[in-house]
Subunit: 477 residues, 2 copies
């Protein structure tokens, strides 16, 4: 509804700017801010026709993030050609916005000197992200092509573990001693033109360069010049150890609503700064990847080369094939019962399947709660009890439902009772496994999103078949 | 590894501050920044013993976000008591950090005037988040208890749709005309002490109060006083329509790496500002909720009342029960075949189950790619082809594997061939359904995360049974 309202008139973020009309702007994006397919085709056609000027005219009004999107939407075998046609429109900023796979693909076609030129334009963290996945030899060639200062900064970042704060931080920041006044800080900023201009907070440090406070720029701007930084800054601050994992960094930014944070080395000295705009995509990635891991899709990136995707998914499927064979062997024990009463074969997948569904629900809740630090050892027991109660309620309801239906349809109350009890049992197994498995894996520092599903679905399959066919055998059906 | 290194010495973010020793600080948090269970117990015990002073001493050094965590970790029947004992330590900021369910629970016990006092302390967006889920009558009582200015601001926010930009924005912002110089802006900020002090950018507006540019505070601080705002500001800006859905807002903040953004009404006038710290938790929520929706766990919040959780999950399970019965009825058609060769009943769950696994992989990838705007109509066809190729590879590999194993184990090459072909067919069905279902739902503006799983698993169950048992029947096994 609201989207329709947007479309009736030019979207405010595409009102005439720089002489472009709203209509021209409107035609590039759909209402969800995605590039329109006909716009993408128009660019690709222009490139194919060799009309470089038209292609550049079409693309030049785009934000670098949109140019990155355009390259991602281009079929992989044409990306090099399109990037070449667009020339300097595909700058360092576009590269840093690109999906990792797409970027690596494009960089492979460039000379080390060209990559180095791009890297030199970027903040350290973006330059590092650009070259950290290159082959060692290619990476070294790029580093060699950099000027010594940039090279030193990037090499220092690369010395920290992958996905650590040291790789995310930038070294350009503003740090001042606490005795400086607001006026002196402003003068210092005005006089030092080679300082970064992209910062949101100023760090106040002691003589050993250890952070003792943080000051939002708005506080400086709203204070008289005579006030000392010591009286403006906030002393409580969240410092990020340089070797902290990026997932942990992201959680702290979220929890404490940080805009930027000081990064400190083992001795507590200020060595860099992380800003929230570099964290936002990590927050989204970390929160979004659980679904991919839980389903065994690995990274699940649509730009991942097919062979790599096949390898990741197949290895997971083969593990599942093993557990499916295990579950089937349970059925094998009861062949005699089934051959006497084939309807059991018809009904057994219902019991195992419903257990799988219920287990997946609980597992998803537990995996998310663990990832967001909501489920901790302080409330684990309470949550297990909670899941058991939910499973009892659901199992009872589903058992009654299927029991009555089966009893009536097959005119066999005993069969109804057996499937009802089996359904309840398997729901309880599912509920308990759904929370116990992820919690246990987490205790052993194994990512519950990656490994929980195998255990839980194996348990619900095995117990589904065993409880139903076992009860049926004992009951003498 | 890195965490162990942290623990060997005081964590940098808990170095002595305000006279607290590192040891005391250390004992409150574990290495993942979660409150330690023994710390939580110590607080609960102190409250139980009526030792309010000890409880307050323990809690007072905590950040509001940690006090919120403490209340969440407290069993629900003791939260009111603990909050009462902590008194003013549970302030407005703590309430705004609390999980929605936990907060609503606590607010229910308060008088409207008390809630109004909390609301008055908060930014509009946080106050709105606090009272938007209250019963209409309770909400009105709180509004009546507010002073007219706060009431007007909150009522205006509540007039926008739930989860829209209008509810997220704050009205306190700094907007200046473009002819002002940097010096004049600084003087204006220093002279107007009732302006907000929490802002990161200044908006430049025209006479009609429409935003024409945005200026980072760092640019103002690094410029001479004489420069006009028109020459410092950036004219390209992402404006947020006031009725835009919060998910869309979150995507724009991510895509364009925004720290804050101007919110405009239908006529393009500046009406508010959204800052990234209010968006960060939405980004995490939106990215994380797909896994919960796909598994049918609804909101999947561990603080959700049990009855509500049962209702949500059960309704999904009942739908799945229907589809399971449908799939079982396919098996029903082949009872005669099964009764002749019971091994088919043993093997059939393998074929359907593996299809379900493969379908879930593809579906997870597609749902994420749709949610992140990576999968658009420009590349849908390409992705369908990609998934088909992956499914062919995986289906062939799995078919050969299970075919040979079954052929050998049962000494029946025909049975091996039948299960191999059925496995390939079901993997192709899974791969195609895994992408076609979410893409189709998305086209019809139905959330693919909510509804895809039912369709995909029904298809893989039905086709798994049908292809395997059907082939076995035709083959005359």
């Amino acid at each position: 509804m609201s989207e329709r309202a947007d479309m009736a008139e030019p979207r405010p973020d595409e009102l005439p700017v720089d002489g472009k009309t709203a209509d021209q702007a409107e035609s590039r994006h759909d209402e969800d801010d995605r590039l329109r397919p006909d716009f993408v085709s128009a660019v690709l056609d222009a490139v194919e026709d060799g009309d470089r000027d038209l292609a550049r005219d079409l693309v030049s009004p785009l934000h670098p993030a949109d140019i990155a999107d355009l390259l991602e939407l281009t079929p992989s075998d044409r990306r090099g050609e399109v990037a070449a046609a667009l020339g300097d429109l595909v700058g360092a900023e576009v590269l840093s916005e690109l999906n990792d796979y797409v970027r690596d693909d494009l960089l492979d076609a460039l000379e080390p000197q060209q990559v180095a030129d791009f890297a030199a334009e970027l903040d350290t963290d973006d330059a590092v992200a650009m070259i950290e996945d290159m082959e060692a030899a290619d990476q070294q060639a790029v580093l060699d092509a950099l000027d010594p200062e940039d090279r030193a900064a990037i090499e220092s970042a690369l010395s920290y573990p992958e996905e650590s704060a040291g790789r995310l931080m930038q070294r350009d920041l503003v740090a001042v001693p606490e005795h400086m006044t607001v006026g002196q800080v402003i003068d210092y900023l005005r006089d030092n033109r080679d300082l970064t201009t992209d910062f949101w907070e100023i760090f106040v440090v002691d003589e050993a360069h250890k952070p003792i406070g943080t000051c939002q720029l708005s506080w400086i701007l709203t204070c008289p010049r005579s006030i000392a930084m010591a009286d403006v800054m906030k002393r409580e601050q969240t410092l990020i150890p340089v070797d902290m994992d990026q997932e942990e960094v992201a959680l702290r930014f979220q929890k404490y609503a940080l805009i930027s944070a000081a990064v400190v080395d083992a001795s507590g000295r200020l060595v860099g700064m992380i800003t929230v705009d570099d964290i936002v995509h990590i927050i989204a990635e970390e929160a979004g990847e659980d679904i991919l891991r839980l389903s065994g899709a690995g990274e699940g990136d649509i730009n991942q080369p097919i062979l790599e995707a096949v390898r990741t998914r197949l290895s997971w499927l083969v593990v599942n094939l093993g557990t499916a064979v295990l579950a089937a062997s349970v059925v094998g024990f009861f062949q005699e019962t089934i051959s006497k009463y084939v309807v059991l074969a018809v009904l057994m997948p219902i019991v195992s399947g419903m257990g799988g569904n219920a287990g997946t629900q609980t597992m998803a809740v537990a995996v998310r709660a663990l990832a967001t630090n909501q489920l901790t050892s302080s409330n684990t027991l309470r949550q297990i009890v909670r899941e058991f109660r939910i499973a009892s309620a659901n199992g009872t309801a589903l058992g009654i439902l299927i029991g009555i239906a089966v009893g009536l349809i097959y005119g066999n109350p005993d069969l109804g009772l057996v499937i009802a009890i089996a359904m309840l049992i398997n729901n309880l197994v599912a509920g308990l496994a759904g929370i116990l498995v992820p919690v246990t894996l987490d205790r052993f520092n194994i990512d519950p999103a990656v490994s929980s599903a195998v255990f839980v679905t194996t348990l619900t399959d095995v117990m589904g078949f065993f409880s139903f066919l076992g009860l049926a055998t004992v009951w003498g059906l």
